[in-house]
Amino acid sequence: MNPQLITTTEAIDAVFFYILGISLLLFIGVTGTMVFFVVKYHRKRHPEPTSDVQKHLGLEITWTIVPTLIALSMFWYGWQGYIHLSTVPENAMEVDVTGRMWSWSFEYENGKTSDRLYVPVNTPVKVDIHSTDVLHSFYIPAFRVKKDAVPGMTTYVWFTAPDIGSYDIFCAEYCGVGHSSMITTVEVLTRDEFREWYEKEPAAESRGRDILSRNGCLGCHSLDGSSGIGPTFQGLYGSSRTVLIDGEEQTVTADEDYLRRSILEPNAELVKGFQPMMPSYEGKIPEEDMEAIISFMQEISEEEGLRGGPESAGQEETAKPEETAQPGEDEDSKEQEEEQKQEEDVDVEALLQEKGCTGCHSLDGTRMVGPTFKGLFGKETTILRNGEEITLTADADYIKRSIQQPQAEVVKGYPPVMPPSSDLSEEQMEAIVRFLEALK
């Protein structure tokens, strides 16, 4: 690595200083002259004009030529800066980033994935930018780089991070309701730290975390209990949540089914206090990933000791926290569910997470971008179909329809922002429905 290599920040800041500096001088010059004239030639002091000169070719030529030269110098300097941004050093490390509504995910050459951009310090990094849906723009203010993520096209930026630390990455091209939460960070590590991170196989227990990370879930949902765009995952599993289903508050238990529902149909059961902005992850998270997510969610909730009782010790078997469940009209079916969940408990919840459903649909009754999943199943729901209000019962058919064509029947009071998910397998669908059924 060439230590003399000038960073993108230094290259661009030099242009800023040049242009802003000259601009400031011009501003002071013109404004100062104007104010001077206004004061000096004010009618009180200067009742009659003392000049009627109407033109001066020399002046006109001067103040055309001089600004032209200044402008051309700014252009050229700016262009040099741009060239610096578009000329990638040959030894640059390559990372792919994919933008989608509304998260970033990074993939390294060895297949490692992350929702944060980990890079070694003082190393040129080239980021190849892709989009799966609409325009986004990959922006790292600290390094003065930005480029749109365009569907059907690969664009790039490069930068060298001179200092260890954490730097913001924003989406700068408006992309819908979650635009301002499409934020992540560049984590600049020492070379050794980076190598360690890069080469570490995701441990079995951290697989769930990696999946969440890769799918951008952690952009909105924290793991440490801090409040984000969406509810934190800490202590989520098995907890009791207040969700809004069709604008009505209900209390649900965040069990596996609920989590799956939340991932697949994020807007159906919105955790109270949150915005309905999470896109559906329907068909985007394979079943095994879903399982990993759900068992991860269980782990972190148990670690935190937020769930007491015998269940703390268990894994899939204890996924159904009966003690916090609301007694509902589907008590029986819930018990049947319990048995089925022995095998696939973890799956749906992980599925819902991985598909991003829970970004907008809470599992605990909280209102978010979409209605909460909690208590959704079997509920009387007012929806808008072709602009007409219709009240129906959220049965299995309704849930499947809502996942595949979310816009056809939008729950009243929620924005029609959920993308359709048609790539879920029939088994996944069934599992989700069972999960939702159990999540009362």
């Binding site: 004009p49 006109e60 700016g78 635009h179």
Partner: protein
């Protein structure tokens, strides 16, 4: 409107004299002055709606996270604020209101060339604006795409009423095109004897240059938004890479109109300033030719810079090179105008009446808008500030601090002529002062926020950006206070103020020679002009 005219029928109220047909005497009038006032009432109504939406946006941004509305509502707010302010306010405001009122008189004509087409243009504006309002209700809710309607979000992702909003823009475009056709024909054919091209006022020159942009660029807007509608309704895939289309093509089409549209917004404002400054300096304008020619140069070169909105879009480096270079060249004629305005004040006898104060604020604020434009014309620096609050600050300095302040100056300058009454100048000065303070407190922090990297169109932001956002929001309260004071004072004066006389500012252009309010058809006898428009000798 009928009330306005009947309120003081004792003296000769010129074109304001009730026609006996009540409201119909207005909405079916082909008198360019009545049509100008019709535009005034319609456009100011939408301006107030736009201001209110902007006020709500700022209120939401006073703190991170949700403050008064949710993210979806916020997105609708800034979309509507943009659509209303751009298509319903700042594009038509000066040509349609002041152009209609003043320009035919300035060239010594009895009306525009096509008076009925002029009335039709107003009706198209009204229909288009009603369609824009209709997009708020029913269906998928108000559009949330931003005023730029960028694909594929607008065509594939959003389920809001984008089709209706785009159709509204389509219709509004025709109002602008037809006004342009009308003005060009009027200026070519209806100049009074002796009004040679270089005896035109600079306001008329600016309108002439603007009208060419309107008729040349307007149809491209119509095509672009029509494609959005076609794309949404039929899924033609014109902008979808999976179907052989290209999202960048939309951006090119959009900006081929929308960048020249920036000059539709600012050029007439520059024309107003060019008429105000000599009047209040008691001196002929300095560099008449330079200012007139620079208007044409801006109209021409401004049509060739559209892709400077796309430096981060992924287009080729060659395109970035060319468009950055051309962008710097279009800055020159604007700079030349500023120098000539300041030079006009040299050794003048300057009175700080309200129109002049607006002109001075225009110069300073337009200067900031123009100089920040250099930062974003330069390819390297644009990458950092593109789509940040720097852009929001920059274009508000040009559009609001520039074009809208020029318009307010024009209202204070010309409306006493058309109502025959004068507002309270002291209150007008106070309102101006409050607005200047509020305006700069509102928008200057945005420039800094942008340099610090805060992206635009963000419902939520990191807490480190909060202090400047609070400052900006407080600025919006001050600005709104000033605006209310200005409008109340202006309209109270126009209805009940003292007689203004035919030429309250001792201005020398033709409109001040006829009675106030001007009679129907302006001139009993078409004047013969043998002097230069800014003759103070």
């Amino acid at each position: 409107m009928a009330e306005i005219s009947s309120a003081s029928a004792k003296s000769d109220r010129g074109f304001l004299t009730p026609s006996g047909r009540g409201l119909f005497g207005w909405i079916f009038s082909t008198d360019h002055k009545r049509i100008g006032l019709l535009y005034l009432y319609a456009i100011l109504t939408f301006f107030m709606v736009g201001v209110f939406l902007g006020f709500l946006i700022r209120l939401e941004l006073i703190a991170p996270g949700r403050t008064i509305v949710n993210a979806q509502t916020y997105n609708a707010l800034f979309t509507l604020h943009g659509v209303i302010m751009i298509f319903l306010f700042i594009i038509p405001v000066v040509p349609a209101i002041l152009g209609n009122l003043v320009m035919p008189i300035q060239i010594g004509a009895r009306d525009v060339a096509f008076p009925r087409l002029n009335l039709l243009s107003w009706w198209i504006y009204v229909i288009g604006s009603m369609m824009a309002l209709a997009s708020l209700f029913g269906g998928g809710g108000p559009p949330d795409t931003g005023w730029t309607f960028y694909v594929p979000f607008s065509t594939e992702a959003t389920t809001t009423n984008v089709t209706m909003a785009a159709s509204a823009v389509f219709v509004l475009g025709f109002s602008s095109i037809l006004t342009g056709v009308n003005f060009i024909t009027t200026i070519h054919r209806l100049r009074a004897p002796g009004v040679t091209w270089f005896r035109l006022t600079l306001f008329t020159w600016a309108l002439y240059a603007t009208a060419w942009i309107q008729i040349l660029a307007g149809p491209i807007l119509a095509i672009t938004v029509a494609l959005i509608v076609v794309e949404r309704v039929f899924g033609t895939g014109m902008f979808d890479p999976l179907k052989g289309g290209d999202p960048l093509m939309y951006q090119h089409l959009f900006w081929i109109y929308s960048h020249p549209a920036v000059y539709i917004m600012i050029l007439p404002g520059m024309g107003i300033i060019s008429d105000i400054i000599p009047t209040f300096s008691r001196k002929p304008i300095f560099g008449y030719w330079a200012i007139a020619v620079s208007s044409l140069a801006i109209a021409f070169a401004g049509s060739l810079v559209w892709s400077h909105h796309m430096f981060t879009s992924g287009m080729s480096d060659m395109a970035v090179f060319v468009f950055s270079l051309l962008t710097f060249l279009v800055a020159i004629p604007s700079a030349v105008k500023v120098f000539n305005w300041v030079a006009t004040m040299y050794k003048g006898s300057i009175s700080l009446d309200p129109p002049m104060l607006y002109a001075l604020a225009f110069i300073v604020q337009f200067l900031i808008g123009g100089l920040t434009g250099l930062v974003i014309g330069s390819a390297g620096t644009d990458i950092h500030v593109h789509d940040t609050y720097f852009i929001v600050g920059h274009f508000h300095y040009v559009m609001f601090g520039g074009a809208a302040f020029a318009f307010f100056g024009g209202l204070h300058f010309w409306l006493p002529k058309f109502f025959g009454r004068m507002y309270n100048k002291k209150i007008a000065t106070w309102a101006w002062g409050i607005m200047v303070v509020g305006f700069n407190m509102l928008y200057f922090p945005m420039l800094i926020l942008g340099l610090q990297g805060m992206p635009r169109r963000y419902f939520d932001y990191l807490s480190r950006y909060q202090p400047l956002n609070v400052l900006s929001t407080v600025g919006s309260w001050i600005l709104v206070t000033g605006l209310i004071l200005m409008f109340v004072n202006l309209f109270r004066g126009l209805l009940r103020g003292p007689e203004a006389g035919n030429s309250p500012w001792d201005a020398r252009t033709l409109e001040w020679t006829i009675s106030s309010p001007p009679p129907h058809e302006n001139f009993e006898e078409i004047p013969v002009v043998d002097t230069y428009p800014y003759d103070y000798s």
